[in-house]
């Protein structure tokens, strides 16, 4: 079970709590985690990554295990602690403006 923490605005939009737990099939990567998240919460499509290009939105960051994974390949394996559910995958709204 993968644990994902969402920023406040996306929790409101998805009508969920701060942490959601999802089963992810196959290798645990940014892409497979976000695919599973968007499948479970379709209203989040387009709000974390672009609908078409699948690029991360510029003011959204991905953190886990005290590391900034925002610039890692979306197909790179996430840390084992995220894959095991010991640590959450954090989706963060960057601190930028008002």
């Amino acid at each position: 079970m993968i644990r994902i923490e969402l920023p406040a605005h996306l929790r409101t939009l998805a009508r969920c709590g701060s942490e959601v737990q999802l089963e992810v099939a196959g290798e645990v990567t940014q892409r497979s985690v976000l695919d599973a998240l968007e499948a479970a919460y379709p209203t989040l499509r387009g709000t974390i990554r672009d609908h078409v290009t699948q690029q991360r939105r510029p003011f959204v960051r991905f953190f886990a295990c005290e590391e900034d994974l925002s610039h890692a390949s979306p197909d790179a394996p996430l840390p084992a602690a995220v894959a095991s559910g010991a640590e959450p995958f954090l989706i963060i709204g960057a601190i930028a403006g008002g």
Binding site: P7, H9, L10, L13, T43, R45, G46, T47, I48, D50, H51, V52, R57, F59, V60, G93, A94, A96, G97
Partner: protein, 371 residues
């Protein structure tokens, strides 16, 4: 007794203001979607309980919302806006080619007859339509594909399609306006478009009388006179009596003819309203006095309306979609400011009072007149 519902979009959420037909006591509900930029909310003329809203943020992009109960509850609908085919380029601020990129929805225009059909004007400028109540959106590519598209350029606020006017007498005719490309009209339901900018004169573009490139801020039409259009341009207030084929300047005795909003009285098709703004470099009213100007002659002869509006130290702006009228017997006029005030007049502009004073900066105001 009739009532009114005022839909207010702000930089930090949406608000719904309601009153009975006297328009003296108001209930303020909101914020809805707090913290998000609410560019525009608009109700369906065919079903007033159906309201569409454009919600966006710099962090999470575009979200679309739909209500089927007059704004009490909302559900997110489709937010996928993909240009038809290869988008190509328009001009960037420096004149270089820049790829078309979807940024946000500026304006929503529900169909006059079908609550499930709604048009969306977007940045970078294009027109989209949904026929399934906002679940999916399809571009009407003939507009962006007009031969002049590669020469369109953004205004300071972005290259936005901000005005959509549906002709009640002819379902095939739609007017739109883009900052800073100009006005366009389709007579075949959106398949093909023609620029309708003859008579516009803009000193800030290389050819002041060019076919496209004009920074139109807003256009208004009275439903009983669908061939008569009123325009607030970057500078100049203009009138067309021939569906946009030609335009005449009607700034007349306005103290300054820069501004953003323009609207038409609900029952007097030649009575129009603007809010003069000092200049394009100073987006606030002349002399620190907030005044609406009314013309009862379709322009040229204007009178200042200031009773109840601040007449000193007022430095707010009134943005292009932030004025609307109701259709009660005594026509109500409404506008919102970047200072967060929403002002209303229940007597065609003679007297004004704030409905609410301290909202976030107001982006848009629409009014529904309810039976």
């Amino acid at each position: 007794m009739s009532s009114v519902r005022v839909l207010v979009g702000t930089r930090k959420g949406a608000f719904i203001l309601t009153s009975d037909g006297r328009r003296e006591r108001w209930e303020v509900n909101g914020p809805y979607f707090g913290g998000w930029e609410m560019y525009h909310l608009k109700g369906s003329p065919a079903d007033p309980n159906r309201i569409y809203a454009s919600q966006c943020s710099g962090w999470h992009g575009q979200v679309m919302q739909r209500s089927s109960d007059g704004g009490k509850t909302w559900e997110p609908v489709g937010n996928k806006f993909v240009y038809d085919g290869v988008p190509g380029t328009h001009q960037w601020y420096d004149g270089t080619p820049h790829p078309w990129e979807f940024k946000r929805v500026w304006h929503l225009e529900p169909s006059l007859s079908d609550p499930d059909t709604v048009y969306a004007g977007v940045e970078d400028a294009a027109l989209f339509r949904s026929t399934d109540a906002g679940q999916t959106w399809q571009e009407l590519p003939g507009l962006r594909g007009h031969g002049s598209g590669p020469h369109w350029q953004p205004g300071a606020g972005g290259m936005c399609l901000h005005t959509i006017i549906l002709d009640p007498s002819n379902p095939q005719r739609i007017y739109i306006a883009i900052s800073a490309a100009g006005a366009f009209r389709t007579d075949d339901g959106g398949v093909t478009w023609k620029p309708i900018n003859r008579g516009l004169y803009s000193k800030y573009i290389p050819d002041p009388s060019a076919e496209v490139g004009h920074c139109i801020h807003h256009i208004a039409m009275h439903p009983s006179r669908p061939g008569v259009l009123f325009m607030q341009k970057h500078w100049d207030v203009m009138r067309s009596g021939d569906a946009g084929e030609s335009w005449q300047k009607v700034s007349g005795n306005l103290p300054v003819d820069f501004g953003f909003v323009i609207d038409v009285h609900a029952h007097e098709p030649e009575t129009i309203y603007v809010v003069p703004i000092k200049s394009d470099g100073e987006h606030y009213p002349p002399e620190g006095k907030l005044r609406v100007y009314r013309s009862r002659t379709g322009g040229n002869e204007w009178e200042a309306l200031s009773d109840g509006l601040p007449q000193s130290d007022c430095y707010v702006d009134v943005l292009r979609d932030a004025m609307a009228v109701d259709s009660l017997d005594s026509c109500g006029i409404y506008f919102g400011t970047t200072g967060g005030q929403v002002y209303a007049s229940a007597d065609s502009g003679d007297h004004w009072a704030p409905i609410v004073r301290d909202l976030p900066s107001v982006l848009s105001v629409e009014v529904q007149t309810l039976p």
